[in-house]
């Protein structure tokens, strides 16, 4: 019953406000900025009562175009010209702007004086400002106003919020307003309002209300209903927070997994095919990342207009650079070491030392700055306190695309068929006329190229420095050990498993202990399955 009556009351409010708004807008249209201009002039009056009257009038008129001027008033940035026209200056600027349009005044009037404001005026102006913002036609301004009121709302803003809530249509803004209102309600002493606030807290489960709820759930609260309601709301928040944490950990695990996958994919292919561990594989990641950096520099210098798209050019270039490096290495060094895996390991380590030192000499020992293009900045806020950065989402998608491409190459092309044949039985494949040494060369290049792609991805989410490869190489070796060789599925499952395991262990055990646990797990796991998760059914040498 009570609820319905409240709802009626809300309707009434809404109608009233609507009428006011319509009236105000009609009025302002009719006189074409005339009264607004007039009222604004009142703000510059030395008489406190005139200022207060002007503020109230601005509130009644409800025109959002004075928001900038009011903000300027509170920040001591409002100026009055000699003829009484009101100007303001933007923060950290000196040029005067028209108070209503925000346009730079031309010519700049001379002899403009600062409008003096005292704290009383500020106190009166802030709610008016809040009200105007809450009614602003811009969704983001309304949202920001609601968030701001949640932080520092006062008793009188409650009714403003209630009014705004009734006409608000965008769910996101409604929620923010409801939370701000709930907070004020919880902080009030009226039990009815507190209960209403609890209902909101319970349904929305917003973590920011936690401290108020804890206060109400304390034994000092006399009202049984409120205490119980607060405790329930706290429970809702807790369980919601657990979900948020879990999803966050899963997301970060997925992000790590995609990096591991990009790093290990090429490693697994070359290890499966050639039986050699390429210690310089991490440096292929580094080459990819530095190629991205170089492309960024080139765009800055020659095509600053299309800097947004530098990444699109970096992807193929990084792939080709690393592929080329891989092919050269295979042709000059690796192919002489087939059948001697331990020596290959040492030789490729030597290669990696040379590459690191070269990059250090060319680009310097410090990390270089690779910026996200604007379309990868920011993130999607899928819940309160859980923002998924776009760059990480992009890396995950990129890893998926690359994996699908590699899979297609291995399973759907002639080259892939030959690669699989050589992996299973080199001499038989050779007898059937497959040019195994050419396959070796291309696959080594391809494996390196994939790592180059991984480097592009890494440059978007982490630091780019000469030691970049070293950080990831050991983890990607673990993926290969765990996943087994020659099977894409093994690599995928292993990197997913390691990524998720690492990130879910981190909150409990800390990053380092988590790593040690993962290592112990790997050692125990290969006790049971020395060949990795998926073993190749074929004649491979044990």
């Amino acid at each position: 019953m009570k609820r319905t009556s409240r709802r009626h009351a809300h309707h009434l409010w809404a109608v009233l406000i609507f009428v006011t708004i319509v009236a105000a807008s009609v009025a302002s249209e009719a006189k074409a900025g005339g009264p607004l201009e007039e009222v604004l002039r009142g703000l510059a009056s030395p008489d406190g009562e005139v200022v207060e009257r002007s503020l109230n009038e601005l509130a009644t008129l409800g025109d959002a175009s004075v928001v900038a001027a009011l903000e300027a008033l509170c920040d001591d940035r409002l100026r009055a010209g000699p003829d009484g026209t009101i100007y303001y200056t933007a923060p950290r600027e000196r040029t005067l702007r028209n108070a209503l349009s925000g346009a730079v005044a031309n010519p700049q009037p001379t002899g403009a004086r600062e409008v003096e404001v005292n704290n009383q005026v500020r106190r009166q102006a802030l709610p008016v400002l809040a009200q105007l913002k809450l009614r602003s036609p811009s969704e983001s301004v309304r949202l920001a106003a609601a968030k701001e009121l949640e932080e520092r709302g006062s008793a009188e803003t409650a009714s403003l919020l209630r009014g705004a809530l009734n006409v608000e249509r965008i769910a996101k803004v409604r929620n923010a307003m409801a939370v701000a209102l709930a907070r004020l309600d919880l902080e009030s002493t009226d039990p009815d309002r507190q209960l209403a606030g609890l209902v909101v807290a319970r349904t929305l489960g917003t973590p920011s209300l936690q401290s108020d709820l804890k206060r109400l759930a304390a034994p000092t609260t006399t009202d049984e209903r409120i205490r119980k309601g607060a405790r329930q709301a706290l429970d809702v928040i807790d369980s919601r927070q657990q979900w948020v944490d879990l999803i966050g950990a899963l997301f970060h695990g997925l992000s790590l997994a995609s990096i591991l996958l990009l790093a290990a994919l090429g490693l697994a292919v070359t290890f499966g095919l050639l039986g050699v561990i390429n210690m310089a594989h991490g440096e292929m990641l580094m080459l990819g990342a530095y190629t991205t950096y170089a492309v960024q520099i080139a765009f800055e210098r020659w095509f600053p207009g299309s800097i947004r798209f530098y990444l699109l050019a970096a992807v193929p270039l990084a792939f080709l650079t690393a592929l080329f490096a891989g092919v050269v290495l295979e042709k000059t060094i690796i192919r002489f070491l087939y059948g001697r895996p331990l020596e290959t390991l040492l030789a490729t380590w030597g290669i990696s030392l040379g590459l690191i030192q070269t990059v250090r000499l060319v680009f310097g020992a410090q990390n270089v700055a690779v910026a996200n293009p604007d379309w990868l900045g920011g993130g999607a806020e899928i819940a309160e306190g859980l923002v998924l950065p776009y760059n990480r989402i992009a890396v995950i998608l990129f890893a998926v695309v690359v994996t699908v491409a590699v899979w297609a190459l291995l399973q759907r092309t002639r080259l892939g068929l030959q690669v699989r044949a050589v992996t299973q039985n080199r001499s038989m494949a050779s007898c059937l006329g497959i040019a195994t040494s050419r396959i070796d060369m291309w696959m080594f290049g391809l494996g390196s190229g994939i790592a180059g792609l991984g480097g592009v991805a890494l440059s978007q989410i982490g630091n780019v420095g000469p030691e970049l490869g070293q950080t990831y190489i050991i983890d990607s070796f673990m993926v290969v050990v765990l996943g087994g060789v020659g099977r894409l599925a093994g690599t995928i499952v292993a990197s997913l498993g390691l990524g998720l395991l690492n990130k879910t262990l981190e909150p409990f055990a800390g990053a380092v202990l988590g790593k040690i646990v993962v290592l112990a797990f790997i050692i125990l796991f290969i006790q049971r399955r020395p060949q990795g998760i998926f073993t190749l059914k074929g004649r491979i040498e044990v």
């Binding site: 290890f271 050699v276 561990i277 060094i333 002489f336 070491l337 001697r340 895996p341 331990l342 020596e343 290959t344 390991l345 040492l346 030789a347 380590w349 030597g350 290669i351 990696s352 030392l353 040379g354 690191i356 030192q357 250090r360 000499l361 070293q470 050991i474 070796f477 673990m478 290969v480 050990v481 990053a511 380092v512 202990l513 790593k515 040690i516 290592l519 790997i522 050692i523 125990l524 290969i526 006790q527 049971r528 020395p530």
Partner: protein, 368 residues
């Protein structure tokens, strides 16, 4: 009895090789100390003071090269985790040295300085007993030995070998490095253990103490060499090489290869830990960067350059490379990594048996 000893000694080396070995030992253990300790400082025969700890360091590297060689050259297992054992031995020694300066640190506390800095009130349990030198030395050998045994047991039992084993040992070392980097682990974090003042009451900065440590390292190297030589020339050693060359055949002949590998792996780890324990008082610091993957791999390249399967070659390789490193990093700092990288590549491509292998090939050609 005497005849049997004589025969065993001759199995280890020919008379000529014994003579060469003993003269080398005399050079290292008698001539240099005399030249540093007895000769007048301005004489041309005087070995300068800075040389003693440097050469002492090289002797320790020689011991760790032996430990890598006996497992890689004779059992075919390439460990990329020997830096871990080296560092663990070093940490045990470092803990003793830290305890021996209790009350003399910056904060005048009984606790090591870094613990005071972290606001710890008492020693963690694993620091107990390290104020006793014999206990610390026991732990320096026992700790790494136990770790190697447990790890080796699981690894060899599940037939992890080849590059797999190398990678897993590398990951183990890496994980340990991350652990030791943490302040909360109780080993001084990033900075490690340092500011040592004296060992067994002798001041560490005194020239005589340094000479003493140098001689102890030299004697240890000689003993380690003889022990390794004893093992590799025994029947055990021959089974080991059989396992290295054809593990399946050796197993079919009835040799449980796992046990052989496990023994030599643990022995090698203990030897490397000993090198670490001798190394720390001579350089005055131990920190987690000793466990960097690159350190362990560098040990492998000492052996590769010197010659896998040749104990003397391994020691020689360690000396050559570290000598080159000392000189090059001072003279041409940016060239060193290129030289090292090129060594890795060229030795594996053109000198698969290292200097020792090339030498014996040369000898065979000259005297067919």
């Amino acid at each position: 009895m005497l005849a049997r000893v004589r025969q065993r000694l001759l199995e280890m080396h020919t008379t000529r090789a014994w003579a060469a070995l003993l003269s080398a030992a005399a050079l290292v253990l008698v001539v240099l100390p005399l030249s540093n300790g007895v000769m007048a400082p301005n004489s041309a025969l005087h070995a300068p003071d800075y040389l003693v700890p440097l050469l002492g360091k090289f002797l320790c590297f020689g011991i760790s090269a032996l430990s890598v060689d006996i497992i890689w050259g004779f059992a075919g297992i390439l460990s990329l985790g020997h830096g871990l054992f080296f560092a663990l031995g070093g940490y045990a020694m470092g803990m003793y040295l830290m305890r021996s300066i209790a009350g003399e640190g910056v904060y005048r506390s009984v606790l090591p300085d870094f613990m005071v800095f972290l606001d710890w009130k008492s020693l963690p349990w694993y620091w107990r007993g390290f104020d006793s030198f014999p206990f610390a030395m026991m732990m320096a050998l026992l700790g790494p030995g136990l770790l190697a045994f447990v790890f080796g047991y699981f690894a060899f039992r599940s037939k992890i070998k080849g590059v797999y084993f190398s990678i897993v040992t590398q990951a183990l070392t890496y994980a340990a490095m991350l652990l030791f980097f943490q302040n909360s682990a109780g080993f001084g974090g990033n900075n490690g253990l340092t500011d040592f003042k004296h060992i067994l009451g002798f001041p560490l900065h005194a020239a005589t103490t340094r000479l003493g440590l140098y001689v102890v390292s030299g004697v240890t190297l000689l003993l380690a060499y003889l022990a390794c030589r004893y093992i590799t020339t025994s029947k055990f050693g021959r089974v080991l090489t059989a396992i290295r060359d054809a593990e399946l055949k050796a197993r079919f002949c009835g040799y449980e290869s796992t046990n052989y590998k496990l023994f030599v792996w643990t022995f090698s780890a203990v030897l490397c830990a000993l090198a670490g324990a001798l190394y720390v008082p001579q350089v005055g610091i131990i920190n987690p960067s000793e466990m960097q993957p690159s350190n362990s791999i560098e040990m492998a390249i000492w052996v590769a350059v010197g010659g896998r399967g040749s104990l003397a070659g391994a020691v020689l390789g360690a000396w050559l490379i570290n000598g080159g490193k000392s000189w090059l990093t001072a003279a041409f700092p940016s060239a060193w990594l290129y030289v090292l990288g090129a060594l890795f590549i060229l030795v594996t491509l053109f000198l698969p048996k290292g200097i020792a292998g090339a030498w014996s090939q040369l000898m065979r050609k000259r005297r067919p």
